[in-house]
Amino acid sequence: MRRAAAAVAGAALALVGCGGSGGQKRSTGLEWKKEPLVFRATHLPSDRVVIGTVENRSKRSLHIVAATIRVRDAHGAALRSDAQFVNSYAHGLYGAYQKPKPLPPNELSRLGLVVTLPPGSVIPLSVAYRVTPRTRTPLRVDYGAGSLAVPSRVRRESQ
């Protein structure tokens, strides 16, 4: 399912012409609006959460499926990651065993699972990821058409 979603998302990105890898090049996609914050989960010591706001600084709309977003380490290894374009906890309209298939667009958008970002639009982004002893920094959030740097400073969550 996730692979299929990734393939479709990739195709969607290609369709709207949002290629490029981000980084040092002229912006072709998302950039942090300001430096995001990274937190270490209090009771899950290998888990981190990066919270911030991103802006589409390209000249085209970006269509992004959150399930395809991965945090990658310095070697390009994908870490286990979960991303959504929200900044507060939310849950769906449908019960876990009562979801329509596919989920309606409004539901996908509302929960930050699938977003279409016009040029200049700003949206919250939260990405949780799990590090392992083999994880090498720096890390980046790979959203398919580009990537976003993950700050190295890790803070503690509230207790």
Partner: protein, 578 residues
């Protein structure tokens, strides 16, 4: 509509055989079944009281006499009127009695198990399939080219049976339906304002010693066991109801209802749910083993003078000194509720103006939650509850274990043992009260203890989460709530600490905590470590990212493909605080 006892007995053999077939009927996955609703407006109703007058219809089962003798023995005083009622019994089906009843009537259920075989024979149906194949509304659209997110899904499109469906095929998705408004909807996407034209002020009561003597049993396929739709003034009492594929009791667009002395259990979602309703009373209720919540006063009417079917808040006249000045009276009351061993003891999206008191919420995953999370719930954002003198304790049961989630994924609701609870929504295990985007709520004089994560949590919810993208509404939750004079971390005279008495994400204005006493211990009192006293601050603060980071990852929960989201620890029972 009536049949004599002999014909009932003959029919029972045929019905029994058919029932066996029905029980083997394949499960029909259901999209969110709540049709598009509106609040009654105006709302002239009131909470109905039990009546001893009005025409009576008696319903019984073949073994009612045996049960009566067993229950009452030589208590002739109690037995005699029931034997008289039995002699007047012409119905074996509650639905048949409802069909025969007129406004103001009383339906007495003699002891027995009510399975409603005739209703069970009506197919549940699905979109495009009979019965009533075309009476659905497409509320969220089909033009969806995006791939679905990972997770289990039914094969149903995002549709809901509309009001015409329930009128034309009342027993397709409801074991028992009480329809108060027979008018067809010209445009189900924009339904008429609710009114009651028939079956108003009905009373359906078990006529046994207590709720255990009358059992209304769902078939685990039909959405509602008992649906009350626009039948104002309904009084339900003295029975047990169970195994709804969504709700055991569903009260929709009702002005005036009273549910009394009822046990509601084993529903896939809700034991008792009221929705776009007003003037309600839940009283002497036990609710347990429900997959969402035991009791749910969702989309509950606001007590202030705003258009109930438009965006509006009860903030007129509110001030720093009294942020609740505009709340008005409660519109639904709950008292003497014992809700336990559910995922949530109480929940209420847009659960406005509820008055919950002198009740127990215990041994759930979370005791009570109210929120502004979901779209499609009139009355947003949530505000103005008053919860007081309740005991909220030991909500540390965990239905999110890996073993349970694996089981739930592989066993659809109809095939599960009735006692097995599968969580429909995620929640923070070990929590007494979770307020997700509430305003002007008042939590006072409660005993809140032995909840190993949070005693009480207050978090903000952006309006976009409920599908409201108006820029002016985005910070319209988590303002003006008060937490006063609660006893935290002590059970009677015994210390029983919460993990953290009060958790707040720090967003909003005029939220305040005052007069609470705690035995939880210095390290367990609050996050953040200092909370504002009343009247709170008038300066808006956004949520602290250090608390958001504990919450947001849990959004990704999905029992099939992501049962343990990265960064989310809600699904482990926290260590018992010392």
């Amino acid at each position: 509509m009536t049949a004599g006892p002999r014909s009932l007995r003959l029919g029972a053999l045929v019905v029994g055989a058919l029932l066996a077939l029905v029980l083997l009927w394949p499960a029909s996955g259901g999209a969110h079944p709540e049709r598009i609703t509106k609040f009654p407006s105006p709302q002239p109703g009131s909470v109905p009281a039990a009546r001893s007058t009005g025409p009576v219809i008696v319903v019984c089962q073949r073994d009612s006499l045996t049960r009566l003798k067993r229950i009452y023995g030589k208590n002739r005083r109690a037995l005699r009127p029931r034997l008289q009622a039995l002699r007047r019994c012409h119905f074996r089906s509650i639905q048949s009695a409802v069909n025969a009843a007129k406004s103001g009537g009383r339906i007495l259920l003699l002891p027995g198990v009510y399975t409603e075989p005739a209703s069970r024979r009506v197919p549940v149906g699905s979109y495009g399939q009979p019965p009533c194949a075309n009476d659905y509304v497409e509320t969220e659209g089909f033009q969806n080219t995006a791939p679905p997110p990972a997770g289990p899904a039914s094969d149903d499109p995002p549709v809901r049976a509309n009001r015409n469906y329930h009128l034309k095929c009342p027993n397709s998705k409801n074991l028992i339906a009480v329809e108060g408004d027979p008018r067809a909807e010209d445009n189900p996407l924009n339904p008429s304002l609710p009114i009651c034209m028939q079956k108003c002020n009905l009373q359906i009561s078990g006529y046994g010693r207590g709720p255990g003597d009358v059992l209304i049993q769902g078939d685990r396929h039909k959405t509602d066991v008992l649906r009350v739709d626009r039948a104002n003034g309904i009084y339900l009492s003295n029975f047990t109801i169970e195994q709804g594929a969504f709700n055991d009791i569903d009260l929709v667009e009702v002005d005036g209802f009273h549910v009394h002395n009822i046990v509601a259990r084993y529903a896939q979602n809700y034991g008792i749910l009221s929705f776009t309703a007003v003037h309600g009373l839940y009283e002497n209720i036990e609710a347990y083993n429900n997959g969402d919540s035991g009791v749910y006063p969702g989309s509950n009417a606001k007590g202030c003078n705003v258009d109930p079917n438009a965006y509006g808040m009860c903030d007129a006249g509110s001030s720093a000194a009294d942020p609740r000045a505009g709340c008005g009276p409660p519109t639904t009351e709950m008292r003497n509720i014992n809700s336990h061993d559910n995922v949530l003891g109480y929940s209420g999206t847009a659960g406005n103006s509820t008055y919950v008191h002198d009740s127990d919420f215990h041994d759930n995953n979370t005791g009570l939650t109210t929120d502004s999370f979901a779209s499609g719930h009139p009355g947003m954002p949530q505000e103005c509850f008053r919860w007081e003198h309740n005991r909220i304790y030991s909500n540390n049961v965990n239905y999110f274990t890996a073993e349970r989630q694996n089981y739930c994924n592989s066993h659809p609701f109809p095939s599960r043992p009735k006692e097995i609870v599968c969580p429909q929504f995620q929640t923070a295990v070990g929590t007494g009260v979770l307020i997700g985007g509430g305003n002007r709520d008042l939590l006072q004089h409660n005993e809140i203890y032995d909840n190993w994560r949070w005693g009480v949590a207050l978090i903000s919810v952006a309006a976009s989460i409920r599908g409201d993208n108006d820029p002016g509404h985005q910070t319209d939750t988590s303002n003006g709530s008060q937490f006063l004079d609660n006893r935290m971390g002590i059970a009677g005279n015994t210390r029983a600490p919460n993990g953290t008495d009060f958790f707040w994400d720090e967003e909003g204005v005029r939220n305040c905590w005052q007069g609470n006493t705690s035995q939880s211990g210095a390290s367990h009192q609050s996050t953040p470590s200092s909370l504002p006293g009343c009247p709170g601050s008038d300066t808006f603060h956004p949520a602290n990212p250090a608390t958001q980071s504990m919450l947001v990852p849990c959004t990704a929960w999905d029992p099939a493909n992501n049962p343990r989201p990265v960064g989310c620890d809600w699904f482990d029972v926290p260590a018992k605080p010392s």
